[in-house]
Symmetry: C2
Subunit: 228 residues, 2 copies
Amino acid sequence: MDLNFVSKTFLFRGCSEDDVRKIAKYLGFKTVRYKKGTTIYKEGTTVTNIGLVLSGSVQIEHNDFWGNKSVLDIVYPGGIFAEAYACIPNEPLMINVVANANCEILFISIPNLFIPCTVCKIQNRLIQNLMIISAQKNLQLSKRSLHTSPKTIRGRLLSYFSQLISEQGSSKVVSPFNRQQLADYLNLDRSALSKELGKMKNDGLIEYNKNAFHLQTVRKGTLSGQKY
Amino acid sequence: MDLNFVSKTFLFRGCSEDDVRKIAKYLGFKTVRYKKGTTIYKEGTTVTNIGLVLSGSVQIEHNDFWGNKSVLDIVYPGGIFAEAYACIPNEPLMINVVANANCEILFISIPNLFIPCTVCKIQNRLIQNLMIISAQKNLQLSKRSLHTSPKTIRGRLLSYFSQLISEQGSSKVVSPFNRQQLADYLNLDRSALSKELGKMKNDGLIEYNKNAFHLQTVRKGTLSGQKY
DNA sequence: AAAAGTATGTGGTTATAACCACGAAAATGA
DNA sequence: TCATTTTCGTGGTTATAACCACATACTTTT
């Protein structure tokens, strides 16, 4: 196991290589290699370990009752998966985790993590990092949910832009997404999104150039009442 | 502070009244009363305490750049709020927390919680409970996001039903929502939802009576390829 | 049991977003 | 720099969901 790499991941932030070594011994880390295409975690089962991707990548997939598959996420080296499931005792997986390429996964037992201990300090650091990861995912999901709740394209865009404005502290904002990614994020069709942006420009609501947008500050009265 | 009540909340699950007393002394709990309408946490500020509602209720609100308000959640006694923000250092609130009625809030410092300690065991229990709460919220949000991503009403319904089937282990399922709530959950108009349910019954896909639905198991080929 | 209130289904209309196709523009890379 | 690939905007068409209005069924209250 590449201690140096592990100590630099978000999950082990604040841990030295030596810390990692110690806690690895205490918790009993396990590293497993998977061939591309192998199912690592299977829907319906329960797990107690989170997976930390050391190399390669894994894909989080969902299959509905009728067998329709959708890819929810791809996790790259340094990222973790199944943390929500590993933290809730006996919560069956809603998703499959599949090796997207030949990969190497470090498994970390969550129940062990919560047993107080001789290496309490490092352990606590780990728990706190895990907590932060979970909380961040929460905020991400909440934001997206907020932005996809308006029924119109314009409404979703304005909600998203509002977010960017507040994050970037200016009505000139830069979006990290290209058109297709933004459409996916807001659950829209790309071409429809492009069209609506054009209309908004026409209506004098925004100016833009590629992913840089300049929002016009409209008087509140103009929009209030509209459910956009 | 009503120790008995506190010890029975989800956050303190597994803690005796005495445990609560001990950890309260150690962490320094603070209880505050608010009059209805008071802002408890204000958008843009940063917080380090989670709030546990002891009595009354609080409302989680969001205001966009143009001042349009939306209510994201209401938290009742025993529930907590702002946990995601309190766990991430310096994360500015995206939301306001407002007293929905005269209420009493118990504030618990998260940074203190992560400092190892004399009452390590109880503390760890608390952290673990918090972790579970966060993880559960994650799954909730992920599920909803999954079910609102299809573009058609039918698609969203099938995705939702698929979930119920897997949770309830049968193709006869009961939904906890009435029509309006289901429409809100799936981001749909109620009347449009009702109509689509009617069509699906007509198409022989489902039978239903109020919130009890019976899904027909259609051959995979019938639906596959459709993006529903 | 009547009355008031709430939830649900349905018809009709309209706005709107998805979808398809294609050309232009921009980015990539050889 | 030229060729190839990817991204983006736009026109046109169609399916579809929102919206509004109302009647019926079901609940709750008194």
